[in-house]
């Protein structure tokens, strides 16, 4: 049986030659539609009639988004580049196109690749990682997540990243909160840096490599870099799942530890989820949680905070069953929880969420106020505060390095 394929080739003259050659010989492929642009291609792919497409690297608006929709429609992709155009080939591979051919390859070779691409296209299988070592690395990703109600995700993420850097681990802090990031404000960063939205855009264009990621980040100190967040909450559509995955991959190659400040929500908009083309606000959060090596779930140590944490943990278990988050209970203080607050909180989480082990962070308004007022980290502003010391121990464990005895002032 002949494989139904699409073409989306920009050079019209060469396209007709290719179409003629594929049609005439017995190459095992049948051209069902010759698409003129990306919109045409996606429309044709969504009908489910084609199994593979041959497209030019310079097709307008070709990005990761388009490729993931082709993948979702089970359409395999063969990319064509001008002979010798290394940059275009690099870009296609970075976007996840596995089969890249020079445009003078000849109809037989193109047809053979189409058959292979059409055969393995499977949305459950992640796109092949290109073999280039620059695109991913051994770095660890820690996602800092938690329920709504401001339990202190940003506080924990910033402090963990800062303390890990002080312990000697090159660290990148990514503000991926789709409800509006404030990491830049917390750190007192004044310049408008392009941040995570620009990194995601570059990845969507297939233009994000490790050096580009480094340029988009800002260095608080040589070991502590920051990728600032969305400047406005309504720009959340800029953080799509696939580009976020790409950013995390480059981050693994850039630094040993990547700390991500996530949004709080994990539920999916059910009515919309059948339509894969509609962007989902929590997609980025889910992607980060999926990709992370360690998920830290931050909750607040009061009755409301514990209730929300229990619900959030059960939502997370529904959505992403493989994840065993590390539970951190923040703002622990006497008064709001009767008796021994740490014991009570641990007991409640054991009973209602089957959490065996928790870490606690003390309530320390004064220390945080001093840090926030100056746009400083806890380590910079109040190095001897108990909250900072608890966060240093947490950071050491998350980064997998021994905590040093005694506070260090400068890294």
């Amino acid at each position: 049986m002949s494989l139904p394929v699409l073409t989306a080739v920009t050079d019209a003259e060469w396209e007709s030659e290719l179409v003629a050659a594929l049609d005439s010989g017995d190459h095992g492929v049948t051209i069902v539609r010759r698409c003129v642009d990306v919109a045409d291609l996606l429309a044709a792919a969504s009908t489910g009639t084609a199994r593979a497409v041959v497209l030019s690297a310079d097709l307008r608006r070709l990005d990761r988004e388009v490729l993931s929709r082709l993948q979702a429609a089970r359409v395999g992709v063969v990319g064509l580049v001008e002979p010798g155009d290394v940059a275009a080939e690099h870009r296609l591979r970075q976007l996840g196109v596995r089969h890249v051919l020079p445009s003078d390859a000849g109809a037989a070779v193109v047809a053979e690749s189409l058959v292979r691409a059409g055969g393995v296209a499977d949305p459950d299988e992640p796109p092949d990682k290109p073999p280039e070592p620059e695109l991913s690395g051994p770095g660890r990703v820690v996602a800092v997540w938690g329920p709504t109600g401001a339990p202190g995700r940003t506080t924990v993420a910033v402090a963990v990243a800062d303390e890990a850097a002080r312990l000697g681990v090159p660290t990148l802090l990514i503000d991926a909160d789709v409800y509006g990031g404030v990491v830049a404000q917390v750190l007192g960063i004044l310049d408008e840096s392009p941040g995570v939205a620009a990194a995601a855009r570059a990845d969507n264009q297939g233009e994000l490599d490790v050096a580009a990621l480094a340029r988009l980040a800002r260095a608080v100190n040589p070991r502590f870099r920051v990728l600032t967040g969305l400047s406005r909450a309504d720009r959340w559509p800029e953080l799509r799942p696939d580009p976020v995955r790409g950013v995390l991959e480059r981050a693994r190659a850039l630094v040993a530890l990547t700390v991500v400040d996530c949004g709080f929500c994990v539920e999916e908009d059910e009515e919309l989820s059948f339509d894969t083309a509609v962007p989902r606000r929590n997609g980025a959060t889910l992607t980060v949680l999926e990709e992370a090596d360690i998920v830290v779930a931050v909750g607040a140590a009061d009755p409301v905070g514990i209730q929300r944490l229990v619900r959030a943990l059960s939502d997370l278990a529904d959505r992403l069953p493989g994840i065993q988050p590390r539970v951190v209970v923040n703002k622990l203080r006497a008064g709001v929880v009767p008796g021994d607050p740490a014991g009570e909180v641990a007991g409640a989480l054991r009973r209602f969420a089957a959490v065996q082990r928790i870490d606690t962070l003390p309530y320390d308004r004064a220390a945080l106020d001093r840090a926030l007022a100056g746009g400083l980290t806890l380590g910079e502003a109040v190095p001897s505060s108990p909250l900072r010391q608890a966060l240093t121990r947490l950071a050491a464990e998350l980064a997998g390095v021994p905590a040093e005895a005694g506070p260090r002032r400068r890294s």
Binding site: P170, L187, R215, L257, V401
Partner: protein, 229 residues
């Protein structure tokens, strides 16, 4: 991979912990509200405040000390006394309008002559000095019994001459009235140069010098010291 709270040994060793010093892919430095360092803005402002107040304080104190050194006399001196350095002391005086009525210490007035009496400790008025002294200096020898032992330079004295008339009656005449003593020479007790008499040097107008010298030659001399009027 999906996350796990437990960190395996494989993961531990997988994390490279290099230093950023040799980072081939540096990120631009973030511009931050505060670059935490010892050169904190508040510290700098504090140091400036301290410095400025020290300087301002020093200036105020210096400005408050607007005193000028002027000459004063050590002890009471009569008009006509020629000043010597020993008669003079320096005192500091707060400047006000008219400070130039007194004699600044840039030049010493030693050698000048007083034109009027100046009390002990009084400032030396510029107007009370005369450059040259006219008249003749005459030494009045007097036996110590006939002069008050407290007499000193700058004091006014009267000189009386007592002669025996041929009839045996005594006649006393005042030959000098109210002249200032320029110098007192007490009898020296040197073994070879002993003089029994006190010599008082006075300055007199040349026309009265004749009468004085005659009286010194012919009469018994008494000196009385005047106290300040």
């Amino acid at each position: 991979m999906t996350g796990s709270g437990q960190v395996t040994e494989a993961q531990r060793s997988a994390v490279p912990t290099g230093t950023a010093a040799s980072d081939p892919r540096p990120s631009p430095l973030a511009v931050r509200l505060h670059r935490p360092s010892w050169l904190d803005l508040r510290l700098v402002i504090g140091l400036l405040l301290v410095l400025v107040s020290v300087l301002v304080g020093a200036r105020i104190v210096a400005a408050a000390d607007r005193t000028t050194p002027v000459w004063a006399v050590r002890s009471e001196l009569a008009a006509g006394t020629a000043l010597t350095r020993a008669d003079l002391v320096v005192v500091r005086m707060r400047v006000s309008a008219g400070a130039d009525r007194y004699l600044a210490t840039a030049r010493s007035p030693a050698g000048l002559t007083l034109t009027r009496d100046v009390g002990a400790g009084e400032l030396l008025p510029a107007a009370a000095l005369r450059a040259r002294s006219d008249g003749s200096l005459v030494s009045v020898p007097v036996s110590p019994q006939h002069v008050p032992p407290t007499v000193r330079a700058g004091q006014r004295i009267d000189v009386y001459a007592t002669t025996k008339e041929p009839g045996g009656t005594l006649r006393t005449e005042r030959v000098l009235a109210g002249v200032p003593v320029q110098e007192v020479r007490f009898p020296s007790r040197g073994a070879l140069s002993a003089t029994a008499e006190v010599a008082l040097v006075v300055r007199v107008p040349p026309e009265s010098a004749v009468a004085l010298v005659r009286a010194l030659r012919s009469a018994e001399i008494d000196v009385t010291a005047r106290s300040r009027p």
